[in-house]
């Protein structure tokens, strides 16, 4: 569990019977009565979860409202590079910026997120109007402008999930939602 990297988690359950937790034998594994009891216990857990750990009401509302951001006109720029997943960490460097690349066809957007803010580059270089979207509860998104070289900066790092909505060359492109 404490290895580096997502791979350690991907290995979850590949060989569960060899894990310490599953090492001991527990007698009969299959009988109808036991299975029925299992179902009852799982159902009790389900009821307990509904009482003790339900989906918070404000999150449920957030998910309802997210539909309003369903953007028919925009082309989606998918996340094609995320330093958190794709880069090899440098030992000792603990505050490396998060480097992201979003791609929509021939257009790409490189974004670097640090504690100081956000820096980006539209490729191929071109001017663009950019909105930093922050979820359905943010009524007035921050607006930025990419210069003729396609560069843009923001002094405010995004808090929580964000997406960039670009108007460039007569089309609208929106990046995948991401948590910085």
């Amino acid at each position: 569990m404490h290895d580096d990297g997502l791979d350690a988690f991907d290995a979850f359950g590949q060989d569960p019977l060899n894990e310490e937790e599953f090492a001991e034998q527990e007698g009969e594994l299959d009988d109808g009565a036991g299975e029925f009891e299992d179902g009852l216990l799982e159902e009790e857990l389900r009821q307990a979860a509904a009482i003790l750990d339900p989906v918070p009401a404000e999150l449920l509302q957030f998910a309802m409202d997210a539909y309003a951001l369903y953007d028919l006109d925009a082309r989606l720029a998918e996340l094609t590079f995320d330093s958190l997943v794709d880069a090899i960490p440098i030992r000792g460097v603990t505050d490396a910026p998060r480097m992201l690349t979003f791609t929509a066809g021939e257009l790409s957007i490189d974004v670097e997120v640090t504690s100081e803010g956000l820096m980006g580059q539209v490729m191929p270089p071109q001017p663009a109007g950019i909105e930093v979207l922050g979820g359905p509860q943010v009524l007035h998104p921050t607006t930025l402008t990419a210069d003729a070289m396609g560069r843009f900066t923001s002094a405010a790092p995004p808090t929580g999930p964000f997406a960039l909505r670009l108007r460039a060359g007569g089309e609208v492109v929106v990046t995948e939602w991401l948590r910085a």
Binding site: F36, E44, L52, D53, L60, A63, V85, G135, W177
Partner: protein, 212 residues
């Protein structure tokens, strides 16, 4: 809630259709309606699949703040991908898998920020809502509440893997094994045996307490 009969040994034969079959069968149609602009369909999807997303998030034991943001990100992205999801009927698996990936990113970024590989970080639990507080809110008879509290306490003290698996299985309506697999990165075929062992382990703990 699962209607009618309790699960049987048929589980092992039909892991793909386990639980919530009626609700899940509608998912593909709901996604299509939501794409076509039907807000009620979106609402139904949120109501039907939010507990699954939440369960996957909770099973990864993030802080409340991180967990909330993961949940939000998942639904924002689902809205964004609605038209593009290749198999709309498997939207539950898509959501579970997206939630898992975002949880793993949080865990990875925390580890990267912390020079010490502190396992405590992975075990932070909810600060806001203790079971005790929630119980006070719950309109349960005292004995029921006590039983539920004990059940939850014993569940929390299971090993990591059992706790993680059961936390996802207890979503309501019950998730399919494909959804559980997507949310935890476990092979579908190993879920049944693991579930059985984990539930029996939990039962043994409860029996030892004389709680049930």
């Amino acid at each position: 809630m699962r209607a009618g009969t309790l699960p049987s040994t048929a589980y092992d034969d039909m892991p793909y259709t386990r639980g919530g079959t009626v609700d899940r069968a509608e998912v593909g149609a709901l996604v299509q309606s939501a794409v076509d602009g039907d807000a009620a369909a979106w609402k139904a999807l949120v109501e039907g699949l939010s507990p699954l997303v939440w369960s996957v998030v909770r099973s990864h034991r993030l802080s409340d703040a991180d967990g909330h943001e993961v949940y939000q990100t998942v639904w924002l992205r689902f809205s964004q991908h609605l038209r593009r999801i290749r198999e709309p009927e498997k939207a539950g698996s898509w959501l579970a898998s997206t939630a898992r990936n975002e949880c793993l990113k949080v865990i990875k970024s925390l580890r990267r920020l912390m020079p010490t590989d502190d396992p405590q970080l992975l075990d932070r639990v909810s600060e806001e809502r203790t079971p005790e507080q929630s119980l006070i809110d719950a309109e349960e008879a005292a004995s029921d509440a006590e039983r539920i509290r004990r059940l939850w306490q014993e569940f929390e003290e299971l090993g990591d893997r059992c706790r993680q698996l059961l936390r996802v299985l207890m979503a309501s309506p019950p998730p399919s094994y494909q959804e559980v697999s997507a949310g935890l990165g476990i092979a579908v075929g190993s879920i049944g045996p693991m579930r059985q062992r984990c539930l029996r382990r939990l039962r043994a703990r409860l029996d030892a307490l004389g709680a049930l």
